[in-house]
Amino acid sequence: MKMTGDPDPLYVTARAALLDTLDALRKHHDALVLVGAQAVYVHTGTTTLSVAEYTTDADFCIVPDLLADSPLLADRLLANGYEIGAYPGSWISPRGITVDLMVPEALAGAGSQGARLGPHGNRAARRAKGLEASLLDRQRTVITALEPSDERSVEIWVAGPSALLIAKIHEINERLDSPDRLSDKDALDVFRLLQSVSTITLSNRLNELRTSGLAGDVTTQAIDILPTLFGTRDSPGTRMAVRAAGEQSLDAIIGASFVVLVQDLVDELAI
C-alpha cells in the first residue's frame, strides 16, 4: 500500500553525494562498506513513512586491513572539493552533504576520536562502536543515481540489516543521555529495519554474529539493550521513533508495531 512517486529531492541529492564520494575514493572501494541511513534505505526502500526527515549523511565503514596505503583518503577528498568537517572522519561534500568515514572501534587502534589508519593519519576517519558486524554481515549491491540524467552506477559493499541494527542500537544507546533529532531518526531506522526484514532472517544472522570473534561482543550487547530501548511503547527508543515519524495519527500504530516486532525478535533469539 505504497504511494509511489518521485523520491524526496533531498534523498536524490544525498544519493548523488554518495556516488560523488565513491568516485573520489575509486581506488578504495573494496575497503568501504556503506552503513548508516543510506544503507538502511537500500534494505527498506521508501516506505509509507514520511521521508521528509531524511538523514542525508553518507556513512562509510572502513576496513583497515583492506585499505591501500595510497592514494590517501584525505588527498582524494580534498582534491574533489570536499572540506574538512568538525570531527575527525567528517567531510563536507561540494553538494553540502556530510560524509562520515568510520572504523569499527575494535580495529581503530588507540585514541578516543580519530581512527589510527597508518599513512592516512588519525583524522581521515573516526572510531565508532558497533560497526564491527558490518564487516561480516554485508553484501555487494549496485547503487545507482536517482536522477534520470545521472547515469552513475557502482557496485559496493553494503552492510546487512543485522549489522545495521547493531550499529543503530549502539548509536542510540550512546546518545541516550542527550537525545536529539538525529537519535530519533536512528530509532525510526531501527523500526524500519524490523518492519522490512523478516524476524527469522534477522535472528539467524544475529545468532551467527554473536558467536563471531570480531563482532560477538557488540552483537551480544546490542541484543541485551534492545528490549531496554524498545521493549514497551513508553521505552525511550520507541518514543524516539514515534517522534521522528512525526505523524500524530500514526503514533499508536508505530508504537504498538515497534513493540510487537522487538518482542518477536527477542523471542526468536531466545530459542
Binding site: 500500500m1 504511494m3 518492519q195 500514526l250 500504530i253 508504537g255 504498538a256 508495531s257 510487537v260 516486532l261
Partner: protein, 351 residues
C-alpha cells in the same frame, strides 16, 4: 400485493365461505372525481334478500389506519340504508380484527381472516386465516439499514437503467419484492424515476449511495474486529497477493486504487471469518494501535463485482464509496473523491 390483487383474493375467499345457495356479485367501483369506494359486493340470500357491502381496500393496514378508514366509510354511508362497510386488506393483525369487531365492521384479508355480519338478511360468518403477516414487507420501507436493502441499492447503483424490476431481480439475484420496496423509497426521495410501465427509467446513483449512507454504516452494519499489522500496510498488501481465500479490500486502501488521495492509514478488509483470516495473515490483536479492520459483512454482495488492482481484490467502487462516506476522519472526503472518479469513469464500474 397490489390493491387489485388484494381485492381479487378477498372476492375468492368470500365466494368460498358463502353457503352454496347464496349469491355473490361484484359491483363496479364508483368512478367519480372524488373516488368514493374501491369496490361494491352484493350478497343475496336464497330468499332474494340482499346486503350491499361498500368495500375499502387497504394493501396494508395498521389498527390506526383502520379506525380512520372506517370513520371515512361511515361518513360516506351516512343516510344510505342497506349498505354496510367492509374492509379488505392484504393482512389484518389480530389487533386490527379486534378493532373491526368492536366497530362492528365486516372484514376480509387475503390470508383468509374473514368476518361477515349483516342483520337483514341475517348473516354471520367468521373464519380464521393467517396469524402472522406473510408479507410483512408491504409496509412502505423507511430505512435502507437492512441487508436486503443494501443488496438492492447495490443492484440499482451498479446496473445501468432502464430495466424492469423482474429483469433486475434476475440479473442481480435480489428478490423482486425487496427491489420494489427500495425503488419505492428511492422514488419518494426523487432518486429513482420510473417509466410508464413501472420499470426503472433512471437512477441518480450518487444520490442513492448518499441516501444509503444515511442508514448504513460500515462500522455498525457489519461485524468489525480490529488488528495490528506490525509490518505496515504495504506488507499486508504483499501477503494478500497470493491468497487462495475470498476477501475484498474496501475504504481508503481500495479508494487509492481508483482515486488516490493520500496514503492509507487503515486497511479495511471484508472476509468470511475474521479470526481465521487474522491468523493466516499474522495480524495481532491489540489494545492500542489498530491499522487493520477485518469485517464480516452484512451481506455477500460486498464480494460481488470486485476488481483486481495491483494484485489486490478490491470491492466494487459503489461499496467502497458508501463505506468511506460512513467512515471517520477524512474518509467521507475520500468517498466524495471516489464518487467524482466514478462519475468520470462510469464505464469502468457500471454495466
Amino acid at each position: 400485493m397490489s390493491a387489485q390483487q388484494v381485492l381479487r383474493a378477498c372476492e375468492e375467499l368470500i365466494k368460498g365461505v358463502l353457503p352454496a345457495d347464496w349469491n355473490f356479485t361484484v359491483g363496479k367501483a364508483q368512478q367519480s372525481k372524488s373516488r368514493q369506494f374501491d369496490s361494491w359486493f352484493t350478497l343475496t340470500s336464497p330468499e332474494q334478500q340482499s346486503v350491499n357491502y361498500v368495500v375499502e381496500v387497504k394493501r396494508s393496514a395498521t389498527a390506526k389506519s383502520i379506525v380512520d378508514a372506517v370513520a371515512q366509510l361511515r361518513l360516506l354511508l351516512e343516510g344510505r340504508e342497506g349498505e354496510l362497510p367492509l374492509l379488505a386488506a392484504g393482512y389484518l393483525s389480530r389487533r386490527s380484527q379486534e378493532v373491526l369487531k368492536e366497530l362492528d365492521v365486516s372484514y376480509v384479508d387475503a390470508t383468509g381472516n374473514l368476518r361477515l355480519t349483516a342483520s337483514s338478511p341475517g348473516l354471520f360468518i367468521e373464519v380464521q386465516g393467517a396469524q402472522k403477516d406473510p408479507w410483512p414487507d408491504d409496509q412502505p420501507l423507511r430505512t435502507l439499514r437492512g441487508r436486503g436493502a443494501g443488496r438492492a441499492v447495490r443492484a440499482l447503483v451498479d446496473t445501468i437503467p432502464p430495466y424492469g424490476v423482474r429483469e433486475l431481480s434476475v440479473r442481480t439475484g435480489v428478490a423482486a419484492a425487496t427491489l420494489s420496496r427500495v425503488i419505492n423509497l428511492l422514488e419518494r426521495d426523487a432518486i429513482v424515476t420510473r417509466d410508464a410501465r413501472g420499470g426503472v427509467a433512471s437512477v441518480d446513483w450518487a444520490g442513492a449511495l448518499r441516501r444509503w449512507s444515511q442508514d448504513y454504516e460500515l462500522r455498525r452494519s457489519n461485524t468489525v474486529t480490529s488488528y495490528l499489522e506490525p509490518r505496515g500496510l504495504e506488507a499486508l498488501s504483499e501477503k494478500l497477493h497470493d491468497v487462495a481465500w475470498r476477501y475484498a479490500v474496501t475504504s481508503s486502501v481500495a479508494a487509492q486504487r481508483f482515486a488516490p488521495v493520500a496514503p492509507a492509514r487503515m486497511a479495511v478488509l471484508y472476509v468470511d471469518d475474521a479470526t481465521l483470516t487474522a491468523k493466516k495473515l499474522g495480524l495481532r490483536s491489540t489494545d492500542a494501535g489498530v491499522n487493520v479492520l477485518l469485517i464480516e459483512p452484512f451481506d455477500e454482495v460486498v464480494f460481488e463485482r470486485t476488481v483486481e488492482r495491483d494484485g489486490l481484490t478490491v470491492a466494487a467502487p459503489s461499496q467502497v464509496a458508501v463505506d468511506l462516506m460512513t467512515g471517520p476522519g477524512r474518509e467521507p472526503a475520500e468517498g466524495e473523491a471516489l464518487i467524482d472518479w466514478m462519475q468520470k469513469n462510469e464505464d469502468d464500474w457500471r454495466s
